[in-house]
């Protein structure tokens, strides 16, 4: 059975618990990725982050991303969880874990999932700085959606 779990969390992510449903004796590889809150961005000193999420659509889009990754890379399992609310420096903002028979699929699957999360998940990031007003940050070239094309 392929494991697929996408979630949104308002409490600290616990990798030691998050990976457990992925345990699978036919998996030869497990790859995980953690996105951390870092203390700088574009030369500014970041003191904290806040994520605001559109829950209903984010859960749908997150599931869709995992489904795509499982199909593209023949994964045995894929789990991802994204924080929302206020985060402090060093916290895990997003966790991704995948299993596959071999390492290449696992690396590629994990990379696909985090890339798509960054580009497509309806979640917004406000950065708080040491000496400047907080701002909503984004990359314009990242603004596209997989489900968008299919919507009629």
């Amino acid at each position: 059975m392929v494991i697929k779990q996408f979630s949104l969390a308002n409490a600290p992510l616990e990798p030691a618990q998050l990976w457990q449903p992925l345990a699978n004796l036919s998996a030869g590889a497990f790859v995980s990725f953690e996105g951390w809150v870092r203390n700088h961005n574009h030369g500014k000193i970041v003191t904290a982050l806040e994520y605001e999420v559109y829950p209903a659509l984010a859960l749908k889009e997150g599931e869709q991303i995992l489904t795509e990754a499982i199909e593209k890379f023949d994964l045995l399992g894929a789990i991802a969880s994204h924080r929302y609310g206020k985060l402090t420096l060093g916290e895990i903002a997003v966790w991704v874990g995948v299993t596959a028979p071999h390492r290449k699929q696992a690396f590629a699957g994990a990379a696909y999932i985090i890339d798509e999360i960054k580009h497509r998940l309806p979640i917004w990031k406000k950065e708080y700085y040491l000496d400047e007003p907080a701002t909503w940050v984004y990359c314009r070239e990242h603004h596209h959606y997989g489900l968008f094309e299919e919507a009629k």
């Binding site: 996105g35 605001e52 559109y54 209903a56 659509l57 749908k60 994204h82 903002a93 997003v94 985090i114 999360i117 960054k118 580009h119 497509r120 998940l121 309806p122 979640i123 917004w124 990031k125 406000k126 909503w136 940050v137 984004y138 990359c139 314009r140 990242h142 603004h143 959606y145 489900l147 968008f148 299919e150 919507a151």
Partner: protein
Amino acid sequence: MSDVPKTVYLRYFAQLREQSQCEEEERVTTAQTYGELYQELKAQYGFTLDLAHVKVAANDTFMGLDHPLRAGDKVVFIPPVAGG
């Protein structure tokens, strides 16, 4: 027929929430499409994002901005995202 007012329900997130100073509202509009509705809101609230930089979801599903607005739609305009 075409300009019969419709009632729609809006939720705002991130900078659109801050600029409208509003989390949600019920609105009567004659806008024909989601894009037209965005322009109406942009004019009223002074949204700094152009239509080209927003997406739209209706009833928790991504839609095309040129699709017809329907009475009762739950509409969310989506500013550029930043997960991860």
